[in-house]
Each structure stands twice: as C-alpha cells, then as structure tokens.
C-alpha cells in the first residue's frame, strides 16, 4: 500500500514535470470545485431566510449566488474532464507507455516472453499506460471529494451539533458500499478465466488465420456458440456479485435515511421552538440530497484510484525484474576471435520443467570454423544457440569466448558482434528494405549493404517481383504485400547477413520453409560467407539443422540427443563411427536413394 501511494506520487510528479501548467491547472480545478456544492446549499438557505423575512434584495442576491455556484461547479467539472483526458494522452500514452517498453527492452533474456506467468503480468501492463495515469488523478479527485463530503457534514453540524451524529450514519453507506465493491472485485477475478476464454474464441472467429480452418471444419458456429457460453458464465457470476453489492448498498442507505430523518425531526422541533430557521431546514434537505452523490463520487474515485493497483503491482514487479535480470558484464569482446568459443559442462533447464534441455555439454568451437548442430526434435539444438547469443544464461557450467566468460562480456556489445537467423524468425511489417536493413542499424538506409544482404539470402528474384522493390510495404494489415512462409524466411536470412564483422554467426534451421533449389543455393552461399567471415574476424558459424544433407560440409558436427552431446566430429568421421549420426543420416538418405 505504501509502495502504491509512493508510485501514485511519482506519477503525479511525472505529470507535473512534463506538463506543469496542465497538472497544476487540474489540481486547482479539483480544489476549486470542492466548495461549490456546500456554497450552493448555504446560498439557498440565505435565499429562503430572505424570503421568510420578506427581504427581496437579500433573497435575490442569495438566489443569484446559488445559481452561480451551481453553474461554476458544472463548468469546473467539464474543464477537469477535458484536462485529464489531455494529460492521459500526453503523459500516459506517450511517456508511461514508453517507460514500460523501455523496461521491457532492458531485459536481456527471453524468460519473460516465454513463461506464461511472467507474460500474464506483462500483458496486463501493455495498453494500461492511459489507465496508469488515470489512477493518480482519481486519487486527487478522491481527496477533493472527501473534502467536499467533510464540508457538507460540517454544514450540518453548524445547523445543529446534534446533526453531527449523522456522521456515524454517513459512515454506514460508505462502509456497506465498500463491502459490495469488494464482492464485485472478487467476482471479476473469479470469472477472469471465462472472460479470457471468450476473448480467445472471439479473436479466433474474427481473424483470418484461424478463419481458414474454422470454415473447412465447420467449427465457426460452434466457436461462436462457445464464446457466448463463456461470456454468459462470466456475466452471471459478475451479475450475482452486483446483486449482493446492491443489497449491501440498500442496507447502508436505509440506516442513513433512518438517522437523517431522526435528525430532521430534531430540527423541526427546534424550528417549532424558534431555535432554528426554515432556511436551516432547507439547508439540511439540500445537503441530504447532495450527500449521496458526494458519498458515491468519493467511493467511485477511491475505487478507480485503487483499481490502478492491479496495474501498479505488475509495473513495480517489472521494474524490479528489469533491475535484477538486467544487463551483466563489463568487458568488451575481442576485435578478432583467436582461439574460439568453449563450453564447459553447460546445462540449462527451462523454468517450470524438471528435465534439463541441455545437460553437461562440453566442447570447443574453434575460431574460423563452421560448426553444425544436429539432433532430433527437442534435443536442445535451439537452446544451445540461445545460450551462445546470451538469450539465456546457463544454470550450470560456463561459456568462454577466447578465454573470457560470456557472462563478463557486455551483452549489448557481444550481441553487436553476433548475427543470427532463427527458426521462428520475426515478421516485421515494414518496408522490405528496412526489414533487411535493421539487421545492422548503423546501415539501415545503406542501399548497397542491403542489396548485398539480399543477394546473400538469394532473395534478389523475390525483390524484383515486388511492386516497389525494396520500398515495398510488407504485411496485409498495412495494405502491403503478404509474403509466403519461405519468403519471410528469406527476409530473416537477409537481415542476418547485414553485419559484416560478427564473431558468431548463427543459422538456426535457416531453410526449413524453402524449396530444394533455394535451400541448395543458400547453403552454398552461406558456406562461402562463413569462410569470408572466418578470414576477416575468425568468426564461428553455427548451423542448426535437422536436414542432414545440409551439414555434411561443416568442419565439425555436434550431435545432440535429449540435451546431451553424444557425438562430435566431421561428417566422414561420424559416418565411420556408425553411431547415432550415421543412423539418422542413413534414414534420410535412403528416402532419396531407395527405389
């Protein structure tokens, strides 16, 4: 709670720093609005007293003041609404969103993107920037509303201290309503799963990708039906909670009305005895009518400010996580690789699983060589690649680059000397030239370098066929060209070819979606490229593949099986050894040679 209040204060300070005028204006508007309601009640009392005492001037003046108080209150609320929207757009959407995204990119690893429990919190945070800025302002509004409530009660007390007893009765609806709100909040959490399911099914039904399968299997109406079912399950739970909340509310206000009526009775008695004026009674009646709004506004604002807590917890977590899981190391990678990369007893287990994905892997990848990693599905090939690119940190053992622990290298600098094309490559819906160029940001607009990279990925024919060449927008959502799986893979390969001086070059299943002639071409080219890089920087090229045909030309082949390194050597050595490699190679080869 204290952390939450501190964060609200920090967010207010951010508003103040970025938009001092608007922020100060909004606070002033909220504060200025506080006395308008009590002022109107007071003015009406004076007006009535004027009427009773047959004093037209006093009556008219007070009536005019009441009208002004009402109109000004309404005006201030309108201004505050607009101003808060403006701050939400400026500070929330632009700055807080940026802050969240910066925290996300500070994370070197991938855990937070691959573990559902972490991803859930990030999902909550994304798109919540506007609401995050709303929370502190609702807190300001809550404070002002509470002030207004206090003023109104003070007015009653001024009429008769007896009416102060009402304070106790006013607490009743506050407490009861709050009980009800809690039951509603519980129901929201309890039905969140049904709600998520209905959103998943809705998105499935309305997206084009799943739409193909839904049509062929005829599952569309069934999915629509289940979506509605999940919706109704969520709604009925939430409705019942609201009914309970309504019962609490009615109980609270019944108590209050009883107390208030007793108070009025007291006042009537005093009026009859001439100790109070009719104006006092009007004042009490006016206050009673506005009291409910005042109580509800206060609760509403408090509720809104508190609902920000749902967002604040993940934000605080993300900050802490980014700080602890952030970047490591202080050393710069060498300009040229001399000995190579060494793995010593490296192991890695995915969080939430009990079987290690990699276990006690020790090997040396000599500088200037092409190393192939082969193995079956789930043997740990991709995990190995992710460890080398520092996307994961090994749980056990260590990785050294020319004798320096990989952990000690500044992550950003090591990455700057790495290039990679992954199996699940990115599809960036930007212009074709950019999607390649971002492989080396310092040359993102360098047409020559981009053309070279396109050539390296054997994608020149593809570019020639695009309507605007390198300037073609990609992606159907942006009215661009939609590429096929294989064509997207080529963009990833071209992107990986932008950097010209990497120490580590990774190709993770680079041709899985390509046809035979393309696969062949690309492997030839990348083998040549690997030799060029080796000559320039002593780079190690790592090729991961389950197609054995593609790796026979490697200098060294690592065979992984269930996370362990079971064999290593050249193609000929491994064939001669007659082990696992020879077995799997034979299986693929007979698929071609058998008649």
């Amino acid at each position: 709670m204290i952390r939450y209040v501190r964060l609200l204060a920090e967010l207010l300070a951010l508003n103040w720093r970025l938009r001092p005028l608007a922020a100060a204006g909004l606070v002033a508007l909220c504060l200025a609005g506080v006395p308008t309601t009590p002022a109107m009640a007071l003015a009406l009392r004076e007006a009535l007293d004027g009427i009773v005492q047959r004093d037209p001037r006093a009556a008219a003046t007070s009536a005019a003041v009441a009208a002004i108080a009402y109109a000004v209150g309404l005006y201030l609320r309108s201004l505050a609404y607009t101003l808060e929207t403006m701050l939400g757009d400026r500070v929330g959407t632009l700055h807080i969103r940026r802050h969240i995204e910066e925290q996300l990119t500070r994370l070197d690893g991938l855990d937070h993107l691959e573990r559902t429990d972490l991803l859930d919190r990030i999902t909550v945070l994304r798109g919540a920037a506007w609401r995050l800025n709303h929370a502190p302002w609702q807190a300001v509004v809550a404070v002002c509303d509470a002030l207004r409530l206090a003023l109104l009660l003070a007015l009653l007390a001024a009429v008769s201290p007896w009416l102060l007893l009402l304070l106790g009765f006013a607490a009743a609806p506050l407490w009861f309503e709050q009980r009800g709100q809690m039951s509603i909040a519980d129901a929201e959490t309890g039905t969140a799963e049904a709600f998520r399911l209905q959103r998943h099914l809705f998105n499935l039904a309305t997206a084009a990708a799943g739409g193909k399968e839904l049509r062929v299997s005829g599952a569309g109406p069934e999915i629509a039906r289940r979506q509605r079912e999940a919706w109704e399950a969520a709604v009925s739970g939430r409705f019942r909670a609201r009914l309970r909340a309504a019962a609490w509310t009615v109980a609270g206000w019944t108590l209050f009305t009883g107390g208030f009526t007793a108070g009025l009775l007291l006042l009537i008695d005093r009026t009859a005895r001439g100790e109070a004026s009719a104006g006092d009674l009007v004042l009490a009646v006016t206050v009673a009518m506005t009291l409910r709004n005042a109580v509800q506004d206060t609760l509403f604002a408090v509720g809104h400010a508190m609902s920000g807590r749902i967002l604040v917890e993940p934000l605080l977590w993300l900050r802490g996580y980014a700080a602890s899981a952030g970047t490591t190391g202080g050393r710069t990678p060498p300009a040229r690789l001399r000995t190579g990369i060494t793995l010593d007893g490296v192991g890695y287990t995915y969080p939430g699983t009990d079987r290690p994905a990699l276990d006690a892997v020790s090997c040396h990848l000599p500088a200037g060589t092409v190393v192939a990693v082969v193995g079956e599905y789930g043997s740990g090939k991709t995990t190995l690649v992710k460890l080398l690119t520092k996307l994961y940190r090994p749980d056990r053992g260590r990785i050294e680059v020319d004798g320096v622990a990989l952990d000690d290298l500044v992550t950003a600098e090591w990455r700057a000397r790495t290039s990679a094309a992954f199996q699940d490559f990115g599809r960036f819906h930007i212009r074709f030239g950019e999607t390649v160029g971002i492989g080396d940001l310092s040359h993102v607009d360098d047409r020559g370098r981009i053309a070279d990279a396109v050539h390296a990925a054997d994608a020149r024919v593809l570019v020639d066929r695009l309507p605007d060449g390198l300037d073609t927008q990609l992606g159907r959502p942006f009215d661009g060209v939609e590429l096929s799986e294989g064509q997207w893979q080529r963009t990833a390969l071209a992107r990986a070819s932008m950097r010209t001086d990497p120490l580590l070059f990774v190709l993770d299943e680079p041709t899985a979606s390509l046809d035979a002639p393309s696969e062949h071409h690309i492997f030839q080219r990348y083998l040549v490229r690997a030799r060029e890089l080796a000559a320039r920087t002593g780079a190690v090229t790592v090729i991961v593949s389950h197609r054995f045909s593609t790796v026979t030309g490697a200098d060294r082949i690592l065979v992984l099986h269930k996370g362990r390194l079971v064999e290593q050597g050249t193609h000929d050595e491994l064939l001669a050894a007659g082990g696992r490699y020879a077995d799997l190679y034979g299986m693929q080869a007979t698929a071609y040679t058998r008649t």
Binding site: L48, S62, A63, A71, L74, R106, T206, G218, E222, R228
Partner: protein, 605 residues
C-alpha cells in the same frame, strides 16, 4: 436525419435484454424519474407546514420526504445490477453475432482485407478495452434518456405551477448544454478516426517487443531503442492532432458556463424576488428552486456512451454487408454415400486483388478418387492458393472446380467442405479440452467420442492424453485453470488426430499443407506412416517441398507459372528429366556425393 436513425438502431436492441429484465428496468427507470418532482413537492410541503406555524403538522410531510429519499436510494441501488445484466446481455449478443458473422462468411478473402479487420476492431465491443464503445452502454443510455425526459416533464410541472415561462427557458438552456457536449464528443471521434493506421503501426512494434520470435531478433540486433522511437513517432502522429483540439475544447468550455448560468440565474432571482414580495407561496418557491437544477440534471447524461455505441453499430452494419452472411450455408449435408469424388480444376485462374500478376493462370488438374497426390513447386508458385480455392475459401477469377462433374460453387461451401479436411500450416490451437481440440476437426457432425479416441490412437496422441492431468478434459492452454501447454511436436499429433477424426466422420479428401516443415526426420516419417496406414479410401493431397516425402505419393504434379507443368509418378518425372528431376537430384545428390557437387544456376530453369 441520421442521428435519429442511429438512436433507433440503439433502441431496437433494447429487447435483447430479455422481456422480464427489460420491463423491470423500464419500471425502475420510470419510478426513478418521478423522484426529483416528488422530492421537490415533498420538500415544498414540508417547508410550508413548518412556516405555517404548527411544527407538529410536519410529521406527515417529513415521513413522505423520508420515504422519497429512501426510495431513491433503493431504486438506484437495485437498478445498478439490472443495468449491468442488460448491458452484458446486449453486448454478449452483439459479440456472438459478430463472431458468427466473421466465422461463417463463405470465403476468406474479405477477412484478410485490412479495412475489414479495422471494422472488426471498431465493432468488437470488448468491455475491458476502455477505448471500445459497447452497444449495451449506448442502448442503456437511451433508456436513461427516456427516464430523464420523464423526470424533466415532472420537474416542468412543478416549475409551471410557479411560472410557465420558466420551463422553456430552462429546457432551452439544458438542450443547448447537451448539444455543446455532444459536439465535443463528435469532434474527438472525428479526429480519432483518422489515425488507426498510425496506432496499428505502433501496436505492431509494441507486439514485436513481447513476441518471442521478433523479441529474439530485437535483442540480437539491438533494436530495442530504435523500435521504441518508432512507436513514439507513430503515436505522436496519432495523438498530436488531439492536443490542439482539446485546447480548443478547453477554451470553448465557457459557453457551457453561460448556457447554464443565464437561464438558471434568471429563474432563481425572479422566484426569490417574487416570493420575498409575497407573490408566491413559500412552498412553491422552494419546489421551483429545487426543480430548477433538476432540469439540467435531466440532460446530464454523458453523450460519449451513445456516440461510441453508434460508431460500433455502424461498423457492425457495414461488416454485415461486406461479409456476405453465411447463415444459409453453415450446415451442409453429410457426405454422399459413395467414395471420394473426382475433383477437377478446369482452367482455374486466381489473382489477389491489387496484385498485377495472377497466382494461378488457367490451371488444369485432376485429383482421382483415393489417390495420394503430391503438389510441389518453388516458394510462391501458388500451392497454398490452390488449397484455398479447393476449399472454397477463395473463388476463382476464371474457370471452375468440379467434384464428380458438379461445380463446387453449386454444391455450396457447407456441403462441399463436409467432404474435406485440411491441415493448415498455421493450424488453430483451441484453448479448449483435448477432446474438443480433436473433435473440432469436424464440427458439422455431432461429437463422437469413440471416433476421437480412435483418431488419437492412430495419430499417436493417446499416449500424451494418458499423461494429461485430467485426461481428455484437460484444456490445452496454460491460460485455463488446470490447463497445460503442449510442445510443438505434441501439437502436431493433435492436428493429425484432428484430420483423422474428420476422415472417420465423413471427410473423403484430406489436404496437408506443408504439415511437417518444422519436424525432424523421425517425426516426419512417423506422421506419414500413420497417415498412409489410416487414410482408408480417402484421397490425399500433400503439399511439401521435401521430396523424400513427396516421392512416396502415387502421383506428383509440379506447379510453375500458375499451371501444372509436370505430372506423373515420381519415377516417370525422374525419367522425363524435367524441373522435378533437377530438384530431386539436388536434394538427393547432397547425400550421395557430399557437399561439393555444385549446380549451376542455369540448370534449374
């Protein structure tokens, strides 16, 4: 006037709340609308008795006043959950209709268009996305408006008892205030409507930041800061026009002040003067003062709910015309009694809208009953398009596709697709139970658990199921309670089971669109062995560029330049020495001779 039509569009959805709930809500609203007038009257009565001298006479009006006060609290409290339920029912029906509409339009091309996806975003009415307008809120706002109008009439009676002219004066002010606020909302919407493209681009990058695929590359290539700057730029494009507009709105808000102050001030001052001079009884004066603000409160509804809901419903209406309603074709007749049909592509052409060159250009192809046909071709040769045409997801721009001589367009998509099963590369991962994930392979037939179990056994998925915490009832998504996430290979088994289930329940043609591109050797071999063993008499169309798999087909066709250029058994095509033979030779030779057998580029064409 279109605004009236919009209001009507909202009002006709009122019955979606259900008759009982709707009558209860209307009753509550009417009772509530009587409250301001009743309060004013009771307060007037009370003051009258008090100033009349005998305070003991005030007990009855006091009781009346207390009763009105309590009624108001109770009515407001009870209306809240009922409004919620009505709103949720209306939104639920809206979303169900929208998803049914989107999921059952016969072809897929409309759904792939960006403007249709933008319309769906506008119409989706997700109540947890605060930018979305929901029809429920808009519809309820209309009910609220009706209640307020009744309240206004009540307040007017009280006022008219004092001076008739005060009624039009205050109502004119209230209407003007409402107009001013409405105008603000419309302005905001109008500026906002011009920016979805920029926000979509910003969202694309912010999605990339948290997607494992793009996220990896963003890290390796150090794109974080750069991507954030991009997001910033796109957002500024979207939001920059809003700031000056909001400043204009801010500067113009004084008009609201004047609109309220002038009529209310006049009425108040005149009432007070008149009453003080003895012209009006004090009770009437008090009632008039109380009722004066009531007129403005009657118009105090936020117009935003109505405006947002209208935008949402308009988008829905447009979608209904854009996505031809597939209600008629949802359910096809089950497969005909005979075996798989002969399928013929007769001079079929297809080009994507906006793309100059056609993907398929006068293609002729026959798929014979019961054969295992492999379709190969370089990337972009139109293999996937061919499948979409076969499944009726696109309509050919020229030519026709027939089944046993009948145009599949005449059969209707429902009847035709009942005979098909397609495994797409981007298959669907339902967040539903394991059993549902298999049985949704054919949703046209009633779920058949025996067939589900059989298909799973054939696909090798039964072993996985036996290890699931709740067996067949386990949801296949960690987002569900008690759910699990399957690995990529396990999902492949689910999809295979799904396809085999469809075959067991009447599908006669199975299409596999590169189902194993990411699988390793053993798994691929396993998939095909199982498929070959369990396909029964069905025709199978396999799309693959793994020629080691393709060669196991009965017949192979090569697509090139939008037509079939080679057609025959693997052996025949090899003997013919065409492009297929070259492709096969490249893949095979690498095994036979190692890496150094380079092929000159010219040989491939």
């Amino acid at each position: 006037m279109s605004r009236i039509r919009d209001r009507v569009a909202l009002l006709v959805r009122l019955p979606w709340a259900g008759p009982g709930l709707l009558s209860a809500l209307i009753g509550l609203t009417l009772l509530l609308s009587a409250v301001p007038a009743a309060t004013a009257a009771a307060a007037g009565w009370l003051i009258d008795r008090l100033t009349g001298g005998d305070a003991r006479n005030a007990v009855a009006p006091l009781a009346a006043y207390a009763l009105v006060l309590l009624a108001r609290h109770a009515l407001v409290a009870v209306r809240e959950p009922l409004s919620y339920l009505a709103e949720a029912r209306i939104d639920g029906r809206h979303r169900a209709e929208l998803s049914r509409l989107a999921a059952s339009s016969p072809t897929i091309d409309a759904l792939e268009r960006s403007e249709i996806q933008a319309l769906i975003r506008t119409a989706r009415a997700d109540p947890e996305s605060f930018m979305d307008g929901t029809p429920g809120a808009g519809v309820l706002a209309q009910l609220d408006l009706i209640g307020r109008s009744v309240a206004l009439i009540g307040a007017s009676f009280v006022l008219a008892a004092y001076a008739w002219w005060s009624v039009p004066l205050l109502v004119a002010g209230a209407v003007a205030l409402h107009q001013l606020r409405w105008h603000e909302g419309v302005q905001r919407r109008r500026v906002w409507r011009h920016v979805p493209n920029s926000t979509m681009r910003a969202d694309m990058w912010s999605d990339a930041l948290v997607s494992p695929a793009e996220g990896k590359e963003i890290r390796v290539f150090g794109l974080g800061e750069w991507a954030i700057d991009r997001i910033d730029r796109h957002l500024r494009t979207a939001y920059d026009p809003l700031w000056p507009m909001d400043r204009r709105i801010l500067a113009a808000t004084w008009r609201q002040l004047v609109t309220v102050l002038v009529p209310l001030g006049i009425v108040y001052v005149v009432v007070a003067l008149d009453a003080a001079r003895g012209g009006a009884p004090i009770a009437v004066a008090v009632a008039a003062l109380v009722a004066g603000t009531g007129v403005f409160e009657a118009f105090d509804g936020a117009p935003q709910a109505t405006i947002n809901a209208t935008t949402c419903i308009q988008a829905f209406t447009r979608l209904r015309t854009e996505l031809a309603d597939g209600r008629a074709v949802q359910r096809g007749r089950a497969a005909s009694a005979g075996g798989p049909p002969t399928v013929r592509f007769e001079g079929v052409s297809f080009g994507y809208p906006g793309s100059a060159s056609p993907v398929l250009d006068g293609l002729d192809l026959e798929v014979r009953p019961g054969e295992l046909l492999a379709v190969v071709g370089v990337n972009g040769a139109g293999k996937s398009t061919l499948i979409k045409l076969l499944a009726g997801l696109y309509e050919p721009t020229a030519g026709r596709i027939t089944a046993d001589g009948v145009d599949i367009a005449e059969l209707g998509p429902g009847a035709w697709r009942a005979r098909l099963s397609v495994v797409f590369q981007d298959f669907v991962r339902y967040h539903l139970s394991a059993a549902d994930n298999v049985a949704l392979g054919n949703a046209l037939a009633a779920p058949d658990m025996a067939a589900v179990v059989g298909a799973a056994r054939d696909a090798g998925f039964d072993e996985v199921v036996s290890r699931l915490p709740a067996g067949w009832d386990t949801p296949l998504a960690r987002a569900r309670g008690g759910g699990v996430d399957l690995s990529g290979g396990q999902w492949q088994q689910v999809v295979l089971a799904r396809a085999l289930y469809a075959m067991r329940t009447g599908a006669q043609i199975l299409v596999l669109d590169e189902p194993t591109a990411h699988l390793d050797v053993r798994t691929e071999l396993d998939v095909f062995t199982r498929l070959a063993a369990h396909r029964g008499g069905a025709s199978v169309i396999l799309i693959s560029h793994r020629l080691s798999t393709v060669r196991r087909a009965d017949r192979v066709v090569l697509l090139s330049g939008g037509r079939v250029t080679e057609d025959g058994t693997h052996e025949e095509l090899i003997a013919a020495g065409g492009a297929y033979a070259t492709m096969f030779a490249i893949q095979a030779r690498r095994f036979q001779h190692g890496f150094d057998d380079r092929l000159e580029e010219g040989e491939l064409t």
